[in-house]
Symmetry: C2
Subunit: 383 residues, 2 copies
C-alpha cells in the first residue's frame, strides 16, 4: 500500500430526496440503506481500506456530522474529519482537502522526502507522488474489486502525468438522471484511458438514447483521481479565488489553528462545483471508462433499478412484505416490520422514524417539496 | 341507580378485519381506536357507569384477555370477568352470564328479597326485577346520553313485561354490512316500542335501499334488554341444550368452583348465536328504535364513514398526515407519526406494531385472507 496515496470522501450532503429515510440529522450517507449493518459511508471507507492507508483517508463534512462519522469509523483520528463551516459545493470542499494534504505532507517532510540538488525538499517531485482519489460518500458500488482495480490503474497514470482524471461509468440504459462524459476516441493515451471531449448535463430521454447508442458517452461518477501537483496547478489557474482563501492555511493544517482558520476563510470561498470550476475548463482532463455496478443512489428510482426484484417486480428492503395485485413497488420499512400492499403499482412506500411516505415512483421529484412542506407545517419535527 | 340492573358486555371477539390494528393478543375492543386514551371496551364500560352499578357489570371474554380487562378497568373485581373456555358464539356466552347473574342474586337473597306468602324467596318476582342489558364491547356510540335514555326506557318496559328487546338503529344509509329488523308498525305497544316482524341477514344493495325507503326496517345493533325471568324462560324453551349444560352451575357461580364447572361444561354447549337461537324464534321479541350515533365499527369502511373528514374526504386518526392528490383515504398510524400520501385515493393506510397495511377500501373483505397468509408465512409473528 502506497503511503503517499490519499483518499478524500465528500460527506457533507443532506440527501433530502430520500426523505423520510434521510433526515437533517442523519443524511443518506450515514444510513444503513440496505439493512446490512453498514452505512453508505462505512461501505465507502471499507472499499478504500485495502488500497489507501487509513490515516490517509480524509472525510470532508459539515461540523454537525463529525461526531457521527467518528462513531461510525472509530479508527479515524478526529483530525481526519475536515469540517466545512458552510456549504460551498465541491470545489472549496476539495480545495480544503488539498490544503490539508499539502500540510500533512509538510509535517512528514524531512523523513523520506527526496531532496533537490541544493538539499531543499523537492516539493515539485513530492507533490506528484501524492496521488489522490476523491469520491462521494453516498454512492453504491457492487463490484469492489473492479472498483479498486480502476483506482489503482488510475493512479498508475496520475502518478506519471499531471492530469485530472474522472471515472466514467459504462452506461447500461439511457438514464436521464446522470451527467455524461464524452470520451475522445481519437486519442487513446494509456491502456484505455481517454481524453475527455465534453461534459454534458443531464440529458432528456431522446438525447440520452443517442448518447448510449453512440458508444462515446459515459456516466459522470463524480469520482476523481489526480496527483497533488496537478490539482494544485489546476486550482491556481481556474479557481484563484479559492486558492487565495485557503492556501494561506496550508501551514496550519493538522494544528489546533486549522479549525479557526477554516471558520474564518472557508465561507469566503465562492459556491462552485469542481466540475464547473475545473473539469470543464482544464485541457488535461481524462476519463477512465469503468464498470463496477455503480449507482449514485440519487433517487428512489435508481435504488429500485439496482435492487433485486421479486417476480412481480417489487423491491423489498430491510423489512418483510406481502404483495397482492401489486407490482413494481419499492418498499422499505424499519427492519423487522411487515408491509402488506394491495392494489398498488409503481409506488415508493418508505417509512423511517415515524414518517411514512407513499408516493408514485414517477412523482419522486416532488419529495423535496414535501420535505419543505413538512418543515413548515410541523416545525422541523419530521425533518 | 337500580341495584338490580345488570349489564353484560361481550368481549371475546378477535376483530381480525381490523388487522394490523387488531391482533390476536390485542383484539379490537382493547384498542384505543381513536387515539383518545380509552379503548372501545373502556368506553363501553364508561357508558354504562351512570346507570348500572359497577359491581353489576359483567364482562364475558376469553381467558386470554382477563388480565388485560382487569388492567383496563381496575375497579372491576376478578369475578366480574367471566371467562369462556371455548368460543361458542353469543347464545352460550349470554347463557353463562344469565347463570352468573342468577347465582349473584342467590348470594344476595335473604337481604332485600321479597318473600312469598309461605316465607320462601319469591324468585319469580325477583327474577323479573333483575333487568339486564347485553352489549358488544367493540361498538362506537357517539351520543351517550341518548344511548342511556334508550336503555332506561327499555328497562321501564322489560321490568313490567317478559319480553326480549333489541335496540334497532334508525338507518341513515342503505348499509349492506348490517342485519336489519323489521318492526311491526301495526302494533305500537309502549311509547314507541314495537313488536318485531322479521330479522333479516345482511341484504344486497338493492334490497337495503328498499329497506331504508320503507321506513319499517332498523339496523340490528346487537344490544339486547330483558329481565332475567324472560330470558331464562326463552333459553329453557329454545336453547334447552345450553340450559342443560349451564343451569347446574348456577349454585356454583361466584364460588371457587365456577371456573372448573365452566371449563368442563361450557365447551359442551352448541355453537349458536342469540339471534338465531332465540330472537328469531321467540314470539315476545320487541324492538326499540333509537338513534345515538351508533356504528359496529365492523369494517374500515364503517370507521371511515363515521369519522371527521378533511375537505378532500381524507380521515386521519391518531397520527398526522399530509395529502397530495389524495382523496377519501383513511389513515391511521401510531400516535405522533406522520403519513405523507401522494396520488392515492380510497385507500386504507393503517400501521400498528410493525405492520403496515395499504389496501383499497373496496377490497377490505380480503384482509381476513391476508391475516391468514401472514400467519402461515411468518408463523404468527405479525398476528
Amino acid at each position: 500500500m502506497n503511503e503517499k496515496n490519499y483518499c478524500v470522501i465528500m460527506a457533507g450532503g443532506i440527501g433530502s430526496r430520500f426523505w423520510p429515510f434521510s433526515r437533517n440529522n442523519r443524511p443518506k450517507q450515514f444510513l444503513d440503506f440496505f439493512g446490512i449493518g453498514r452505512s453508505l459511508l462505512q461501505m465507502t471507507v471499507d472499499r478504500f481500506r485495502p488500497i489507501i492507508p487509513i490515516e490517509n483517508i480524509l472525510i470532508v463534512t459539515n461540523v454537525a456530522y463529525k461526531q457521527m462519522i467518528l462513531e461510525q469509523i472509530p479508527d479515524l483520528r478526529p483530525e481526519q474529519v475536515l469540517c466545512e463551516p458552510a456549504r460551498r459545493n465541491t470545489a472549496p470542499c476539495i480545495g480544503y482537502a488539498i490544503a490539508h494534504i499539502k500540510g500533512d505532507m509538510r509535517k512528514k517532510a524531512g523523513q523520506n522526502v527526496p531532496l533537490t540538488a541544493d538539499g531543499a525538499v523537492d516539493w515539485d517531485n513530492e507533490l506528484m507522488n501524492a496521488n489522490i482519489v476523491v469520491a462521494p460518500s453516498d454512492h453504491l458500488i457492487l463490484q469492489e474489486d473492479k472498483f479498486r482495480a480502476a483506482i489503482l490503474k488510475g493512479f498508475e497514470f496520475t502518478k506519471k502525468n499531471d492530469c485530472l482524471m474522472t471515472l466514467g461509468m459504462q452506461p447500461t440504459r439511457p438514464e436521464t438522471g446522470y451527467g455524461y462524459i464524452q470520451k475522445d476516441a481519437s486519442e487513446v493515451t494509456y491502456n484505455g484511458i481517454y481524453k475527455v471531449k465534453t461534459f454534458t448535463e443531464k440529458p432528456d430521454r431522446e438525447l440520452a438514447e443517442v448518447f448510449v447508442k453512440s458508444g462515446e458517452f459515459l456516466w459522470n461518477s463524480g469520482i476523481f483521481l489526480w496527483n497533488l501537483r496537478a490539482i494544485r496547478t489546476a486550482y491556481i489557474q481556474y479557481l484563484p479565488e479559492v486558492v487565495e482563501k485557503l492556501k494561506p492555511g496550508e501551514m496550519l493544517m493538522g494544528t489546533d489553528k486549522e479549525e479557526a482558520f477554516m471558520q474564518e476563510n472557508f465561507p469566503l470561498c465562492p459556491n462552485i462545483s469542481i466540475d464547473y470550476g475545473v473539469m470543464e475548463k482544464a485541457p488535461n482532463v481524462y476519463v477512465q471508462p469503468a464498470s463496477f455496478g455503480w449507482s449514485d443512489l440519487g433517487t428512489w428510482g435508481s435504488l429500485y433499478e439496482l435492487s433485486d426484484k421479486d417476480p412481480q417486480g417489487n423491491v423489498t428492503l430491510k423489512s418483510e412484505a406481502m404483495y397482492y395485485d401489486s407490482e413494481n413497488n419499492v418498499v422499505t420499512l424499519p427492519a423487522g416490520h411487515l408491509a402488506v400492499l394491495k392494489g398498488l403499482n409503481d409506488y415508493i412506500v418508505a417509512e423511517a422514524d415515524g414518517v411514512l411516505l407513499i408516493c408514485p415512483k414517477s412523482d419522486e421529484q416532488h419529495i423535496r417539496q414535501m420535505v419543505t412542506d413538512a418543515e413548515v407545517r410541523f416545525k422541523g419535527k419530521f425533518n
